[in-house]
């Protein structure tokens, strides 16, 4: 269970995409949530999916993380053994395992991503126990190390998250996901509902993981400032489609589509 990446060292990145989605669509009866979405995510790359409510961005995240099945389209992922596989041809057991080890999913509401009745240490240790760690002392030590990395004080390890603040819960959720050194993390409005100073702390944390561990991430956000600071690329969604995509600073400073221009001009400061 060693770290796959050494801190601070530049990573040899494989140029093949890590995740490739092609022609994803999702219909709920007559309602189209996502239409013909294709995108690639490479190792160490952070992609923002921005759009307003109802744009389909949360559905897209659910599809990309295989938590929902698409109506059409496919997703392939290059697994740790180097082989690229069609995710919907894997067994549910394999997909579940992927979601617990090589992937992370950070929910907007940390209560959805945590077990509120289990201590912080138990929450962080769960993935380790799920992959077969059977030494209490080691599990606790690893959980302790991760709590430190997300700046949660040592003496909170046995406390339950229902005694934590919102920002702390969110950091705990991140620790819980990072403990198996995932290569790809999905985040749904990770800074949503948090105070500005708390957001800053969270962004710094995520930025650190991305640069030190070569983490790839798909971040759904309506906050363009977050997109600019954290992300390499931005995809703009409207009514279920991607209407514009490009480098983060490009989309924000030189928006081409009318809707993108509207979005960018509507905020106070990018």
């Amino acid at each position: 269970m060693k770290a796959l990446h050494l801190e601070g060292q530049p990573l040899v990145s494989d140029d093949r995409p890590l995740l490739r989605a092609m022609g994803l669509s999702k219909h709920f009866g007559a309602r189209v949530a996502c239409q013909d979405v294709s995108l690639d995510v490479h190792e160490g790359e952070v992609v923002a999916v921005v759009g307003e409510s109802g744009s389909g961005k949360s559905t897209l995240l659910a599809l990309l993380s295989t938590q929902q099945l698409p109506s059409t389209g496919s997703i392939s992922y290059r697994m740790r053994d180097g082989v690229t596989r069609d995710l919907f041809r894997l067994t549910e057991a394999d997909r579940r395992h992927l979601l617990r080890t090589d992937w992370g999913f950070v929910h907007q509401d940390p209560r959805l991503g945590l077990r509120m009745g289990v201590s912080a240490g138990g929450n962080v240790g769960e993935r380790l126990m799920a992959i077969g760690w059977r030494h209490y002392g080691n599990i606790r030590a690893e959980a302790q190390a991760w709590l430190e990395r997300v700046e949660i004080e040592n003496d909170r390890i046995d406390d339950r998250p229902d005694t934590f603040s919102g920002g702390m819960r969110q950091r705990l959720q991140i620790a819980k996901n990072m403990v198996t050194h995932p290569r790809l993390v999905f985040m749904d409005e990770p800074t949503g509902g948090l105070d500005v100073s708390v957001q800053a702390r969270l962004l710094d944390l995520i930025r650190g993981f991305v640069s030190d561990r070569g983490l790839a991430a798909v971040i759904v956000t309506h906050d363009l400032a977050v997109a600019r600071l954290l992300c390499d690329r931005i995809l703009v969604m409207r009514q279920g489609r991607i209407i514009e995509s490009g480098l983060a600073d490009q989309v924000l400073d030189d928006p081409r589509e009318p809707y993108t221009q509207l979005l960018v001009s509507s905020i106070l400061q990018t």
């Binding site: 601070g8 060292q9 530049p10 490479h42 790359e45 100073s197 800053a200 702390r201 962004l203 710094d204 930025r207 640069s211 600019r228 600071l229 954290l230 390499d232 690329r233 995509s245 490009g246 480098l247 600073d249 490009q250 400073d253 030189d254 081409r256 589509e257 009318p258 221009q261 509207l262 001009s265």
Partner: protein
């Protein structure tokens, strides 16, 4: 593929127009027919009145603005890339290895300290953490950023201090191309002189420098050539 003597920067018939959909599709041409190159070890200054498109040219080279026509050929160790048609991934690679950029704004995540901002910029280009930190300290010291500020986030710094951190960030990785947008506008004479020295040093090391210098005096000292951007104004 780059031929042995390719200039690091070569623009060929580049044009850019903004289409403002929020104003009924009004077209705002910025530049057109931009053609010039910058050689290794050379510093070219872009001149012209405010709003003529000097910053825009830098942004077109950096990939911040999209190119409407023409080619923007950037040559580095890995070969020549046309920024106008480069994929986002290629562009990110180019920025990591070849294109250094000092913009007018310092945008960083609120909590990160000045030293770390500069060191991170070097690490991105593959420099080891220890070397990156050493370079960062060296640059900040040369630019007279007080030691006590090194671990503070620049958001609370003065305009001049922020600009110096921004310059240090742009220079830390020692990329072969350096784009500078008004690097000395908020600096006093002493620090301006330092920036001139740093630019000269990069030139000696073979970097191709393209910059906008509001101060005529600095322009004279640093630039080997001056290109008047007025000639690229649309309708000129």
């Amino acid at each position: 593929m780059a031929s042995a003597g390719s200039d690091p920067i070569r623009l060929d018939g580049v044009a850019k127009t903004f289409v403002m959909h929020l104003r009924g599709g009004a077209r705002l041409p910025v530049v057109c027919g931009v053609s010039f190159s910058v050689r290794s070890g050379e510093c070219v200054a872009l001149s012209g009145p405010s709003g003529i498109g000097k910053s825009s040219i830098l942004k077109l080279i950096y990939g911040n603005y999209r190119v409407d026509a023409g080619r923007v050929l950037v040559t580095g160790e890995t070969g020549t890339v046309d920024v106008a048609s480069a994929s986002p991934r290629q562009m990110l690679g180019l920025r990591r290895t070849t294109l250094g950029y000092v913009s007018q704004f310092l945008r960083t995540i609120p909590r990160v300290g000045a030293l770390e901002i500069v060191a991170a910029a070097a690490r991105e280009a593959g420099v080891s953490p220890q070397e990156a930190r050493a370079r960062a300290g060296d640059l900040l010291a040369k630019l007279n950023v007080a030691h006590r500020l090194w671990h503070l986030p620049p958001a609370t710094f003065s305009g001049g201090e922020q600009q110096r951190v921004n310059i240090a960030r742009g220079l830390a990785a020692r990329r072969p191309i350096l784009l500078l947008d008004e690097p000395t506008s908020a600096l006093d004479d002493m620090n301006r002189a330092t920036v001139v020295e740093l630019i000269e040093a990069r030139k000696r090391e073979g970097a191709a420098v393209l910059g906008i210098f509001h101060d005529a005096d600095i322009r004279e000292r640093v630039a080997d050539r001056i290109i008047d951007v007025t000639q690229f104004a649309p309708g000129a």
